[in-house]
Amino acid sequence: MIEVRRLTKRYGETIAVDDLSFQVLPGRVTGFLGPNGAGKSTTMRVILGLDAPNAGTATVKGTPYGRHRFPAREVGALLDAMALHPGRSARAHLWSLAQSNRISRSRVDEVLDLVGLTDVARRRVGPFSLGMKQRLGIAAALLGDPEVLLFDEPVTGLDPEGIVWIRGLFHRLAADGRTVFVSSHLMSEMALTAQHLIVIGRGKLIADDTSDNIVAGGSTTVLVRSPRADELSALLARAGGSIGSDNGALSVTNLDAAAIGDLAAQHGIALHELTPQHASLEEVFFELTGDQVQYRAASPEGGPTSSPSPTAHEVPR
């Protein structure tokens, strides 16, 4: 279990994490979501004792990280897959980490096998693809067979096959009863991977709930097609619905499908389609974090775009 209590971390004038509290429980995959710059990586660095908080505490298995004598046996972490010496072989890299925590050489070969890097174990890691480096990072996290695992954006750079593999791995680890904490800015990925979500924006907690509840809490829109769309649109607006247009159809919020159908029937308007659409996790996420996005591309009209720029990169601290 990971416990973060009233954590605040500032870098000069910037508040990266602002009075943040949450728990990550064992036995399930917990997603850690937020736009780029929301404070996810900072929070993870504080949990791992790399950065000192300005206020608050973070504990792993009830103990501050730095108090674990051989922490790799308690906590495995992948923060940055690129953090490798390019001239060192995959095996030597893992072996050096294993030795400091008195982990056996056979375990090194075991985790290399687990992530599918046995064939390249003796090669220098410099020319490895990002996907291979991610696998190596995951191998390093699993070295000590830890009960608690943290992964910062582990999916980045993996090919589709790798993504399916890592999703299965996380589920297996959680099914073992381990605590699995995975950060991502990709909601679609987290929707498939995490059973529980902690959402933050600008260092503050926005949501801490099961994925299902978070999706259910999002607004529902109803897609309506009718040959008399203009007429219907006016009626729906009078009834309190807010109307958008979606590719020739009306996209109605604030009214449910039944109310729309009844209203149309009362006025003898034919409907060709009436489809309730649950917001995807992605859309809920934008609703939740809409005003929290720090870096976004300006849209051509000058207004904010509906999604954070996918190319914006988290500022390394």
């Binding site: 790799a72 923060l79 953090a83 010496h85 050096s96 030795q99 008195r102 381990r178």
Partner: protein
């Protein structure tokens, strides 16, 4: 650590545990880890090879140059000639090679970000620093001592052509040769301490070069008597000034005795690592 029979699934964590915890010492484990890191990259091999080649090669070259000039030298120059120091003059350049390796031992981790996995695996940061210093220090001492003894042997062989050579058993000679290796090792350790404080390869190398090569020149420009006072306390001045105390054989009243010189060099390293230990513990990684 129990190994699971099935390599495709991690061991259930409930079955391992127990081992480790109290009783086992951390420092030896971290030293083994640092030893693996040091020997698994080529820059280590190249830096050590360069240190050795420069020490021996330039030492022999300086002796060769002296021998070729010898017939044209005046009596005064012949009388002040120190055959031991001449064969060890390669260390003026070799100190840069070993210093760069000392810097890289930690700056490469800051440059690649590897310092974070390192400090995540071992949150006891001063233990990490100590392990790096011990492992690098021992490796550097072995290589540089082999280098200076080889340089001495090569240099004296060259000088023997004019019957100028000395033997390792002659007064103060053994101490001087040993001292030269100690000096090189200490410069390497200073590089490691500086890189821990500065965290940038280029910045640390520049600072080290400034300290060992440029500071003595600047100090010379100070008004007397500060120029000689400052110069003699700099690492190079402590050990390599005119009639060097540590690895020259000729006593010089303006310099320190070999024992004091050694203590002063050790003091440089102690101060460097005290600051390094402070900064590595205090700063965010």
């Amino acid at each position: 650590m129990t190994a699971t029979p099935a390599p495709t699934a991690p061991a259930p964590f409930a079955t391992r545990e127990s081992g480790g915890r109290g009783g086992t010492l951390l420092l030896p484990a971290v030293m083994r880890s640092e030893w693996t890191k040091l020997r698994s990259v080529r820059s280590t091999i190249w830096s050590l090879f360069a240190t050795f080649v420069i020490t021996v090669g330039f030492g022999a070259l300086f002796c060769l140059a002296y021998v070729s000039r010898y017939d044209r030298l005046g009596l005064r120059e012949r009388l002040t000639f120190d055959p031991t120091a001449q064969s060890l003059r390669g260390i003026f350049l070799a100190q840069l090679a070993i210093g760069v390796l000392g810097v890289l031992v930690i700056s490469a981790e800051y440059a690649t970000g590897l310092i974070r996995p390192t400090l995540t695996a071992v949150p006891q940061r001063r233990t990490v620093l100590a392990a790096k210093a011990i492992v690098f220090g021992v490796v550097a001492l072995v290589v540089t001592e082999v280098g200076v003894f080889a340089a001495f042997a090569a240099g004296q062989a060259v000088l023997a052509g004019k019957n100028l050579g000395v033997g390792i058993g002659d007064p103060h000679v053994l101490r001087a040769v040993l001292g030269a290796g100690v000096y090189l090792t200490i410069i390497g350790l200073l590089g490691l301490a500086l890189a821990t404080i500065i965290r940038r390869t280029a910045g640390a190398i520049a600072t080290l070069v400034g300290l060992v090569l440029i500071a003595p020149l600047l100090a010379q420009a100070l008004p007397s008597p500060w120029n000689s006072d400052v110069t003699k306390f700099l690492p190079t001045g402590v050990s390599t000034g005119l009639g060097a105390a540590l690895f020259g054989v000729r006593p010089d009243s303006s310099r320190f005795s070999p024992g004091v010189a050694l203590l002063l060099l050790v003091a440089w390293v102690v101060v460097g690592f005290a600051v390094a230990a402070f900064t590595i513990s205090r700063r965010d990684a």
